[in-house]
Symmetry: D3
Subunit: 321 residues, 6 copies
């Protein structure tokens, strides 16, 4: 087995009031990294083969939403395959790719699983696995439409796969709660439980949805998620932090009232969709407690930010709703 690469990192600025700080060279992935990409954002990365691999949302010039594989030695500099992923699938009903966006990637036992917003008579949660980031084997869609932001837990809970998702409608959904579902086999899903919903008069008043794959800590599952506020000029997407029970992850142990990252920089406030920070992946260094967080910025580019696990855990515990 190869030695894992160190995760991307920059030390925090000297004077700091917030638990997350941005990469000084953001955007870490620019919109036109691929010769035909209109934008690259809301993407997912994992340690792989002595470096990093990932599945990337690339909207091409036609604004077709597609998923591309990519590799990086250091997590900063990424090479993306200009060809979108073509999922291997025997069932012709599923095999027709309509659109795919906002992927997450997680290693469970010995396979990497990708979940994404998959077009099948509306958006739902597509599921596939790979062990080489070359061939991706598509499974059944987890749920009926309309759903987005399907996020698998990195281990089985009580012997069953576990997923967060956010039921939606068929448009720019003006509502949204996070639910928890279980599956014995990644084919049939059930035991749906409500996890968390919007909070009135706050940055997360309109809707919330899962972010990166939750990280297990002694205090519970560390969940970064996005929340949306509706201003008179549209949605504003920020990032929140919560802790879920380790054994019954639909139970919220702690949830911070304040956001931990909100659109402030030009590349977060200006782009195809103004005022969006959307966390979709994080890399964890267990020895140091460091986190490298990848997030979509303005639905146009990919940002990178950093944090310490223990600070985020405490922030969730110490700033209750």
């Amino acid at each position: 087995m190869t030695t894992p690469a160190p995760i991307p990192w920059e030390d925090p600025p000297a004077a700091r009031t917030r638990p997350i700080w941005r990469y000084s060279q953001n955007p870490v992935i620019r919109r036109d990294l691929l010769p035909t990409s209109n934008s690259i954002f809301n993407s997912a990365v994992v340690p792989f083969d002595g470096g990093f691999a990932g599945v990337f949302r690339c909207d091409d010039w036609t604004r077709r939403m597609q998923l591309h594989r990519g590799r990086s030695a250091d997590g900063f500099d990424w090479q993306l395959d200009p060809e979108p992923i073509r999922f291997a699938c025997d069932d012709p009903e599923l095999a027709t790719f309509v659109y795919g966006y906002d992927p997450r990637v997680v290693l469970i036992e010995d396979r990497f699983y990708v979940t994404w917003c998959n077009g099948y008579h509306g958006p739902t949660i597509g599921v596939a696995w790979t062990d080489d980031f070359e061939t991706f084997h598509q499974l059944e869609n987890a749920f009926l439409p309309f759903n987005r932001n399907g996020v698998l837990f990195p281990r089985k809970i009580e012997g069953r796969f576990a997923m967060l998702s956010r039921p939606s409608d068929n448009g720019h959904t003006p509502f949204g709660d996070v639910f928890y579902s279980e599956s014995p086999d990644l084919c049939y899903w059930g035991r749906h439980r409500h996890v968390l919903g919007p909070v009135p008069n706050s940055w997360q008043a309109t809707k919330v949805g899962g972010g990166p794959v939750p990280l297990e800590t002694s205090e519970g599952w560390l969940l970064l998620y996005h929340g949306v506020l509706t201003s008179c000029n549209g949605f504003v997407y920020s990032v929140g932090v919560a802790l879920l029970d380790r054994d019954e992850p639909w139970k919220v142990i702690a949830r911070a009232a304040p956001h931990v990252l909100a659109p402030e920089t030009v590349y977060e406030c200006v782009g195809d969709v103004a005022n969006v920070v959307f966390p979709s992946a994080m890399l964890h260094d267990a020895d140091t407690g460091r986190l490298a967080i990848y997030y979509g910025a303005a639905d146009t580019v990919t940002g990178l930010a950093f944090a310490y696990v223990d600070e985020l855990v405490r922030f969730a515990q110490e700033h209750p709703l």
Copy 2:
């Protein structure tokens, strides 16, 4: 075993252009049959114990949507329990009844299963079983919200339970397609397939949803369903007919372009929601091919109508989209 009661029936009128005709004494169940009912409609009935039993949507004076059990000797004259059903359920998360409406009842093997629109952080499909119409054992909700019109097939398909449903949003959903899902155990559901959607420039242009439990015929599953047209003054609900493949019921074999029942009478056009006919149950007499169809009228009362199975099958076959 008791001898089954004959299903309700009236012969068709002499001059008839349509495959379904109304009961001359409609509404068969009036809005105030219960002393505290504002309206009784979109209800489900089955043969039971030498007569008929059913689960009824009764909105009380508070307009709380609840389910009531009921019995009838002849299918015309109904006695409803003034107390709503309290489902037996061990899990406190599920046991809290928020609202329930639009039930369907089906006999699968040796149990009667009830599905209904169940409030759990939004409408989804509740599932319960009974063998005596006294105690109803609540199972897990089949799907994540938002969903309505969950309709179980009366037998397993390929060894798995099968259900139609209509994913929705959290309001007066202005869209809706019918999907098919499977479950090995009535707990976990998957293998979701699209069945049928709206048809532009027609009575079913806005949305469609399942109706009574499908009836198996040699030509396929006979499906009555509702379709909705949006006029400048709101929704108009009518009834359509289709045939689904017996083995792969998500495949539509035949589907009639015309509606087979549409709001025409005063009790269908005037009430809490004008212009609604909503089929929710049917009784079948195998010997004669007769059907007694129960339907909600104007979201206020329950109507009864009659048809012959073979005529409906032919109508679906001979009036293609």
Copy 3:
């Protein structure tokens, strides 16, 4: 002083489940009672001069909303002045009549006060007084726009005039709570307090607004009010009952969960606005505890209904939310 006329009355039907019953000859005022009236509804009546007098909402054929005076010997048979009321007013800014609708009339000390929805750069609450139902002296509008359903209490509270109203927007307002305000002089208003709001998942889920002038009882102020539910085909207006504290009337002592009158008859369900019962006045016989309730039906005609005060009080007390 003249002997007051007996209020209109019909004994309740033999079998009765509800605390309010309808006049058998409804509508008591038909839409074309005036030669140029399109509709007459949401009107207010009081005992006057040995009979009854009132202010009536009459929409003419142009659908101009105007107020007309009217008289009746028995409360059933009404004579309306075909000429709309022209308010006496010295201030030219106020004197321009734009539109007026949904009046209430109340006797406070020695004057009859009329409040109505008055057009002044949007709907607000107009106020006027009369002692002869011939000349009506217009005062300042009570509030800024947008407001509707201003209802004065029949006596001063703590030495100040008291009014219920329902702040609105400039259209078919999809929200609405009842507030309480005070005035030392009917010119300046303040000390605004929230009284009651909508109730989710009920007949009053969208908005609520005051009805007839509250009636003081030993149990508190008896308030009939309207509540609105939004169906997929529009608003449904029903009638509710509550008791307010006698000294601090913004405090709700009791409020019935069920409605006490809802659209059921053809003249309530069919008309210029389907599915409306809107209570706007009541006559009280102190000796017998009888109430005669006038209400708008389908925004087209005027209905009359009857009740006993003590039954309504008990209904509010015994059917809590």
Copy 4:
């Protein structure tokens, strides 16, 4: 030439306050006159061949909107061709019939012209002519989408064909003014002029659109038209009357503030679209000044009403806005 048939007629009721009165046997055409018709309304009739002929909007059970030819000896009793009109047209781009509704028919010189709302990438004004009510020759669409209610004048104005129409959008248009356009050849149209628009705070506050073919009188063109008010429960369609300048018909000489017909009867208030009276044709008896007016009722059936030309002219003159 055949002697023209007398137009349908009933004398007015004894006590009458309005210039238009209904046929006592309404609806004159019921919704199911054809074996496959869901509804028949908004249709147009003319004297023809010693009786009457017309083009009828028939929505079939699929709710496809189609045009059918029909004949009547007396204007009361109609025989409709169950086959929809198939227009003769050489240009394949135009020849594809998508939908057609709300026809008008007019005799200009020696041909009958039909105009209707024609589906061509949205609703626009289709034009065709016939001289036998058997073959209908389709011409170019008069305008770009989106347009409805195209009404030709019965003679050329200044040597050019003249048409009223109501530009729209692609839905249940919430706005609408009547415009006037000219054409030298029924192919190219221009010199568009505004004629009349909605009137705030009235029965015609939302939109207005042309009705029957205008009738030339010594006082100007007599125009019946529909106007729409938006209640909280949807549109209400009523009928208005105006006089247009004979030589420059875009100039309004007189326009009545009140409506002259509004939904009042059950067949006008209840049906596929509640609260609609929509005038689409009138027959004129020059000797007596009688008018027989055909109008759609509740978008479901066809009504018939009667008036005297001179009364309508005076009504427009004597009830100014």
Copy 5:
């Protein structure tokens, strides 16, 4: 008494076409001046105690809208109290702080009065006074909800307090006019008069609302106000100027058609709400006629701009609507 500090000032740029110019170091208050502030904008300042004091809208990381006190020696450099203001109030019904935003501060006679948008069952106008900017004594809300932008005049008019406000709805109100109200005692308000409304086809087509406290000049009250245009991508807030009658301030003497400040810089066009300049306070130097104008920019930061009183007065006079 201390000598007043000179107001902040920068001379205008050499070439200038507009009556208002921006501070070269804008934003004068950045979004994170407080350690927990998400944004600081729409705030109010006055001369106080030899320097300046103010009440500031600070939205914290939770996006709770709160009011903070602040002090400055020179009007450029501000120290804000990180603790929000807790209003002193005896009435528990009022004492519950829900949210507060968009304050104005004015000196009337010997007290400073604060008005702000105060959450009480919807937004309304909160009123409080202070004489030390430490303790703020809360009075009754001036009006019923829904209201925003309450602006007191700096002296009584005809012996009564006078306030401008903008009645609203409960969301991102798409309409809004400015009204004038009077009060003998800051408790009861009345004599409401319309002042100014939107202007079609202009930068103020959607709504208008009061800005800083009006400044009395020989030509009338100088009013800066905000106006809103709705583009296809949301609201655009600009600044306008008008003159009101000194004795009857609801009478508009002059009103400029053009805006005098509109979003142009990055900090005005990019932020939590794009394209907002919102004037909320101004400091006046009577000797020089200089004005320092504080305004919210993009609902994120506070901008500063300068003008001469006489130029603004002339601009209003010379650019009529």
Copy 6:
């Protein structure tokens, strides 16, 4: 005749993936080029008199939309007349200028024709001609409202003038297809044909509209056009390319799936309307095949970009939908 000036030009950057590249000194026309202009964009230029002339959309500080004439020697540096164009027109009905925006200019035979969005009871297509860019002679509006983006072809087709336009509604139209119309005389228009519509799941999913005057090439008419995608935060306007049949220009020969220019720079993403690139004119150098494209940016300034005709033609051919 004067020698034509060379069109503006910059060679493409070395590494280039797209067929259009921006002028390095953009915006070529800044928002405040005129002393009273709020913004200058969506303007049209042509070679004229040895240099260039144009008609410019200038919104003044009042946000009145007006048209101004302008001249330039080199196409980079423009002098605009501060006085708006006052069209010469004999008909008083047309002569009233309400608003004008988004002009196009084209030379047909010996006259320059201007088309623009002209306010006449809603937006429609105004038409005028000039031969000196001093006097502009207004003709009849081409169409009924509601219409925008009228673009004349530079020569007659089959002997008739030809125009593209985009029927609309009266607001921020959320739909829109391009149609083709013909006229023998620029007064009467007809033979309307559908050309192209939106493409689902793409940058042009909401609506499309014509851009600069089409350029005739051997491969067909080269059409640049704008397409709009609706994000959760509003419209995004990009540029597409298509080829139309030379003889029957309503027939699309080729149409590129990807956009060829989309908002990326700050001056395109930030301004009065974020995220707009709107092509409105192009200059062609026949010898070199060079194109200089003028486009509105963020509805605020005017951008300039460059391309080669043959590359655009190939792009349309090689990237089919």
